[in-house]
Amino acid sequence: MELLLAIFGRALAFSVNAPHPIPPSMSLWERMLPPVDISENGHLIDWLFSYTTYLNIFFFTLVCIGLFGFSYLYWYKRHPKAEYTYGNKKMHIIVATVIGVAVFFGVDMNITRMSNNDFMNVFAKWPTAEEDVERVEVLAQQWMWNFRYPGQDGVFNTDDDVLTMNDLRVPVGKKVLFQITSKDVIHSFFIPNARRKVDAIPGRITRMWVKFTKDGKWEIACAEMCGTFHYRMAAKLTTYQPEEYATWLAEAEEKALVENDPERAEMYWGWKWEY
């Protein structure tokens, strides 16, 4: 496979002087894996994906055995006389029904139940006001991400809010709750490393919560087509250890007090936070 990629990809691509980014060298398998999981619950999604994959491989193997096996066995030179049957014997109907029921209960309802449990108990279980969470308001616009932290007073849309552009910094080990909306067209707030996305829709507020577990530098993407420069609508995501985060936030809040211009109307794009 790697060889094939090398032959087709690099040798024939006459890239001589182009500023093409050089792909990091790693094995094909490593390339195919999703990005590092940095969230507490991302593994639920990875696990369900793998589980479904095993079931799919099993059933698709059955299909292939039928398809290729029968094609081989019943080629007309090998098997000149076809059997005359409508497939309406009791046995045939039982087999078809068993396959249908096995797929429905063995695969479908099985993964539906798991997905439903994960969804209702984890991803759609929203943190309440009683919990200590980090709150961030997100405003998407063509083609950038605006982030807003409540600042020293803990209230959103006041003149001490910390505002950043395409630069999200969050702590690990604590739930981060995002409220998201859009200024112009529909965008989608996608954190590949946390396996989650939610649309940013003008006129309504959507939510997402993530508990990060790994510190480092990552990327946020816009996943919904939003115009010509959709592909450039990326933001940086920095996850800090709690102490580092506290240091950064304190600095940013100080800076906001000094630098925010309360007279600038565009600054107040936020909204009153309600859980």
Binding site: L5, F8, G9, L12, S15, A18, H20, I22, P23, P24, R31, M32, L33, P34, P35, L48, F49, N56, F60, C64, F70, S71, Y74, Y76, K81, A82, Y84, T85, Y86, G87, V95, A96, I99, G100, V103, F104, D108, I111, T112, S115, N116, A124, Q142, K183, D184, V185, I186, S188, V198, D199, I201, P202, G203, T206, A223, M225, G227, Y231, R232, A234
Partner: protein
């Protein structure tokens, strides 16, 4: 209403009445075929340009790039890229697959296979084609407007598709083209449904119809119900764009009142999910028939297959919400749509079992239509199973709007339907044009296409799972996607292979239609359905005597047969021991 006998059309005398404004369903079918193949070519070249930009974003598109984009030295610019994928989707779905499978083979096969002399409304049929031409002109015309064609994706979600995101006339023309095409397809659908109900030959019950006709019939029903919904949606979009209404505007963008952009998504996907089945049902029907024809065996559980397809048709109207999980609708809706989506796999599993049952203990001939049909079973198996990841909401949160989705729906909608369409073309070629395609070229075409398309669509699912999201001009500005450069290059080379192998088809097709001298026999495949009881190509009036149907369409290898054939025509009494 029961059967009535149509009069015989007089043979058209002038060029205009014979080839252009023809009422004859066979000519209209061929017109749709050429129309579809023309747009398939355009959509295919667009696909190659998209793929080129994804693998080699900083290099000139070969051969035609220099002429098309002189300002950038042949490199596809980002705004053009957005137009390309929008137009690729629109053209392939509405202007290539729909005309070929439904327009061409619906028109051609339905009357011939049910023993009718023409569609029940020939004038409506002709209008349907000419409206499709007008729609095609509107769409192609939109490419030449000052700001270019529509660029909001084939789904054209507002508010991107309103004046906020797309100020150009291109988007309005796009909506208008879709509206006109919707009218055209609805006309066709009404015609198909009525024809099948009232014009079946005497003696032909619904379960005596070939499964091809079943597929086309169910498709026509979905078309008649849901295309008007899309029509209404794009009409509202046109109102928003042209007359300043605010159906789909909200938030800061709305100047007065408040609409809702998500409303359009509901309207779009109420149509859009059945549309997937509109495209695939004819292919399922064709495959169900061809597997039986070439395995020389009655279709296994034909009634169950027909009823499963009907069940899918009904269920397809109840599942559209799985396209909108990330808009964060009520969890109750999310749960319902997830569960309903899953139920579709019961009927799907049943007809899959039936397909395999059909070739089980058959006597299989690997002619090109059979190869393509087996190919459909393979790729639809992959496409159907990968749908599971997108139906369960949690995995969809990650995979939604990534290339995984793109790979999945190309397997179901593009690969299966394309292979089914090619199977149909190779199979009905003798009845349509009176000549047979070259088998060797057809087999080369099959194997190269299979190789190419699996490379492309499997590769897309791989990069999608690895995190590459959709509709991005240059994925490699993201650091975490740079490791996918080699895989993207591989996909592009596979796409080029798939594209080039279609040249084999075009050469074969054009040569066969225009230059081949050797005429096909009346029944080259030894099949018993009604269209093979008449000469090749089918005469102007189809059936001199309206046939009387006495047995089912899949009577093969009956041990009691004494005629020396291994099959029975539908006009013959079923031989019993």
């Amino acid at each position: 209403m029961a059967f009535f006998e149509q009069h015989m059309h007089p043979v058209p005398k002038t060029f205009l009445s014979k080839y252009i404004f023809s009422f004859d369903h066979k000519v209209i079918g061929k017109q749709f075929l050429w129309y579809g193949i023309f747009f398939l070519g355009i959509g295919g070249i667009m696909a190659l340009m998209i793929r080129w930009a994804l693998a080699f974003p900083d290099q000139a598109f070969p051969i035609i790039g220099q002429f098309m984009f002189p300002e950038t030295g042949g490199i596809i610019p980002p705004d053009t890229y957005a137009m390309l994928f929008t137009m690729h989707g629109t053209i392939m779905i509405f202007y290539a697959i729909t005309p070929i499978l439904i327009g061409a083979f619906g028109n051609f096969c339905i009357p011939l296979m049910i023993g009718a002399r023409d569609m029940v409304f020939p004038l409506l049929n002709m209008l349907s084609f000419w409206l499709a031409i007008i729609s095609g002109l509107l769409l192609v015309g939109s490419l030449f407007t000052p700001l270019g064609a529509a660029a909001g994706g084939w789904t054209s979600y507002p508010t991107l598709s309103t004046l906020i995101g797309s100020p150009g006339t291109g988007q309005t023309l796009w909506a208008l083209a879709i509206f006109v095409l919707g009218v055209s397809s609805t006309m066709g659908a009404i015609n198909y449904i009525t024809t099948i109900i009232v014009l079946r030959a005497p003696g032909m019950g619904y379960f005596d119809m070939p499964l091809t006709v079943w597929g086309l019939w169910l498709t026509a029903i979905l078309n008649a119900i849901f295309l008007p919904v899309l029509g209404a949606g794009v009409l509202l979009l046109i109102f928003d764009r042209v007359f300043g209404t605010q159906f789909f505007l909200a938030g800061a963008a709305a100047t007065s009142g408040a609409g809702d952009p998500v409303l359009f998504q509901h309207v779009f996907w109420i149509f859009g999910h059945p549309e997937v089945y509109i495209l695939i049902l004819p292919a399922w029907g064709i495959v169900s028939d061809l597997l039986s024809f070439f395995a020389r065996k009655p279709a296994f559980g034909a009634k169950a297959t027909a009823l499963s397809m009907t069940a899918v048709t009904v269920l397809s109207t109840l599942v559209y919400g799985h396209h909108m999980f990330t808009t964060q609708m009520s969890p109750l809706l999310t749960q319902s749509f997830m569960t309903l989506t899953m139920t579709i796999s019961i009927p799907s599993a049943i007809f899959f079992a039936n397909w395999l049952g059909t070739i089980w203990r058959g006597s299989i001939r690997f002619d090109s239509p059979m190869l393509f049909s087996l190919g459909v079973v393979f790729v639809f198996g992959l496409g159907g199973l990968t749908g599971l990841y997108l139906a369960t909401v949690t995995t969809d949160l990650y995979l939604h709007d990534t290339y995984f989705v793109v790979g999945h729906f190309h397997y179901t909608m593009a690969a299966s339907v394309l292979l089914g369409g090619f199977a149909a073309i190779y199979f009905w070629m003798p009845k349509m044009f009176g000549v047979m395609c070259n088998e060797t070229l057809a087999k080369w075409h099959f194997w190269l296409t299979m190789l190419g398309l699996n490379g492309v669509f499997m590769g897309m699912m791989v990069v999608g799972y690895a995190g590459m999201h959709r509709r991005i001009y240059n994925p490699f500005i993201y650091e975490h996607l740079q490791r996918l450069i080699p895989i993207n290059e591989f996909i592009t080379w596979s796409a080029i292979l798939m594209g080039l192998s279609q040249i084999i088809f075009v050469v074969n097709f054009v040569h066969t239609v225009f230059f081949k001298k050797e005429k096909a026999t009346q029944n080259p495949w030894n099949v018993g359905t009604l269209e093979w009881t008449i000469p090749s190509p089918a005469p102007n009036y189809n059936f001199k005597e309206i046939p009387v149907v006495k047995c089912g369409p899949h009577e093969f290898s009956n041990p009691n047969l004494t005629t020396g054939r291994d099959f029975q025509y539908q006009t013959e009494e079923l031989v019993k021991a």
